[in-house]
Amino acid sequence: MLWIAWKMLVGNRVKYLGIVFGVVFAALLIAQQASIFCGLMSLTVSQIRDVQGPGIWVMDKNVQFVDDVKPLADTELFRVKSVPGVEWAVRFYKGMARARLPEGSYEQMILLGLDDATFVGAPAGVFLGSIADLRKPDAVIMDDAGYRRIWPGEAYRLGRSFEMNDRRAVVVGITKASRTFQSFPIVYTRYSQAVLFAPPERKVLSFVLADAKPGVAATEVCRRIKERTGLQALTRTQFIWKTIDYYLQKTGIPVNFGITVLLGFLVGTAIAGQTFYLFTVENIRQFGALKAMGTSNWTILLMVLAQGLQVGIVGYGLGVGLAAIFGWVVKGASRLSFFMPWQVLAITAAAVFVIVLVASLLSIRKVLVVDPAIVFRG
């Protein structure tokens, strides 16, 4: 009987394509917008992800997200080091600096200062120059996107210089780095150099990066740091989610994307539901004939649900596929962020399931109440 249901469905091509279109439209819009949203959210935490090595970030207790830097006294480093369970701890500077380029123009940059001795937090994607070159005077390593932004169309060249806070900075390396939410160039340097590039402040330590001793849980060490120093200590994952939470709760980003996703859901439901209902009404005599010939209501119910499911699977596949193609195209051709984790696929699948269920339910009622005697009426 499911075969008959399938043949009935695809036999009316116009209606079938109409129903599928509704589901595709919804799946595409939901998956695409949700992926862009996830892409944006991943940008907000890219700097945390790029800092490899430390499992624990220590910061002022009022810090709400990664760019919300509230400087600490340098002595906090030693207090953190003294907490039992801390394997090691280093300083980390993060701030904004204004660079003056040789052409006379100015550019905002994200300045990251790495521990002078260990370079903990150094970028992993240096493809021109080396991390060790940071030990040279005035040395900085710049991300490739930033380099192309400052010197568009020009080949990568080490030794180029610019000024930050009236101090000369020399590019000794180019690295791959994840794009940031603000899209500013990123420059890495030694901590001692960074505080010279940064505008003068009484306190300059942004974060203490630390790690737990083997056998001690990072969360436990975080708890101890908080207890003994009064600072906020978070695991890398906790800091990522704290940052994302901030953007979710304090900005209009989720609302804007949520509205688009909701519109996609509603329009998709309306198109698919209405077309599926019309398809059922058009076939009501056929359903009546099947009932007259001895098809039970239960089988009719399964047939309609199978039709809905079939439309859902095809529509979901096409919609998500188109969204993925969109992401693949824009990733190379624009600066639009696009990240499609499995959760987006699952959410889209759930939304599509609801759409086809609603569409099916509208039709199910119609076919279940149809009197099989309808077939005797001319």
Partner: protein, 248 residues
């Protein structure tokens, strides 16, 4: 020859259909419409009964009740020895599936299925494997002269050919009761005659009964018995030409 509506002197086992005092009312309160007003009718096995009468006289209502697709308001309905009034809805569905074949006025073929697939539908409903069902349907269609049209969709067939597919569909599962609702009304005289000949040749069997609802006086010659309805009652049951030939 005008006769009694019932054949009470014969044993119950001779009858495919026995109806007594069946009424059917639609609506409620002051808007009640009486479609059937106490109908008595017998249809013996091996008979082709034609149900005739003007539009709105209750033919469709009566045949719907006999088919088990409509509940009577009162009365007794025995079909193939089963009391349809006492039967539960699920039982009626299974009863129709196993015992009743339908030929509808507007064919009601599924437009997306081929002729052979359409004819196989009752077997698929009964749980047959699709391939086996289509094979059996193809054999019956071939018997009906449709062997070269098995793979055609209904839209590619003439009215007469579609009606033959409908007949094949009605007979494919060997039902003991065949109900035909105006099977010739959409056909020209020649196709109507061919259709009735096919029904008579293939469907009328000693262990099966056929009820044909019709307005078409041209096909009365195919009847064993003709029941004339008027205003929700059976006015008269006459012996048809076939029965007269049978009786010598």
């Amino acid at each position: 020859m005008t006769g009694l509506h019932t054949l009470d002197d014969q044993p119950l086992s001779d009858f495919a259909v026995r109806i007594r005092g069946v009424t059917k009312e639609f609506g409620a309160g002051g808007a009640v419409m009486k479609a059937l007003r106490g109908v008595d009718l017998d249809v013996p096995y091996g008979d082709l009964l034609m149900l005739i009468g003007p539009s709105g006289c209750g033919k469709t209502t009566l045949v719907s009740i006999v088919a088990g697709t409509l509940e009577p308001s009162a009365g007794e309905v025995l079909v193939l020895g089963k009391d349809l009034v006492a039967m539960r809805p699920g039982g009626k569905v299974a009863f129709r599936r196993d015992n009743v074949g339908f030929v509808f006025q507007s064919y009601n073929l599924l437009p997306a299925l081929t002729a052979a697939e359409n004819a196989a539908v009752p077997l698929i409903i009964a749980g047959w494997q699709r391939r086996r069902a289509v094979e059996k349907a193809a054999n019956i269609l071939a018997e009906l002269g449709m062997g070269d049209r098995l793979a055609n969709l209904p839209s590619e067939l003439s009215g007469g050919q579609q009606q033959r597919v409908a007949i094949a569909r009605a007979l494919v599962h060997d039902p003991r009761l065949l109900i035909c609702d105006e099977p010739t009304s959409a056909l020209d005289a020649e196709n109507g005659r061919i259709t009735m000949e096919l029904i008579q040749k293939i469907a009328v069997q000693p262990d099966r009964a056929v009820i044909v609802v019709t307005h078409d006086a041209r096909v009365y010659t195919f009847a064993d018995r003709i029941a004339a309805m008027e205003d929700g009652r059976i006015d008269a049951v006459t012996t048809g030409p076939r029965q007269e030939v049978k009786n010598g």
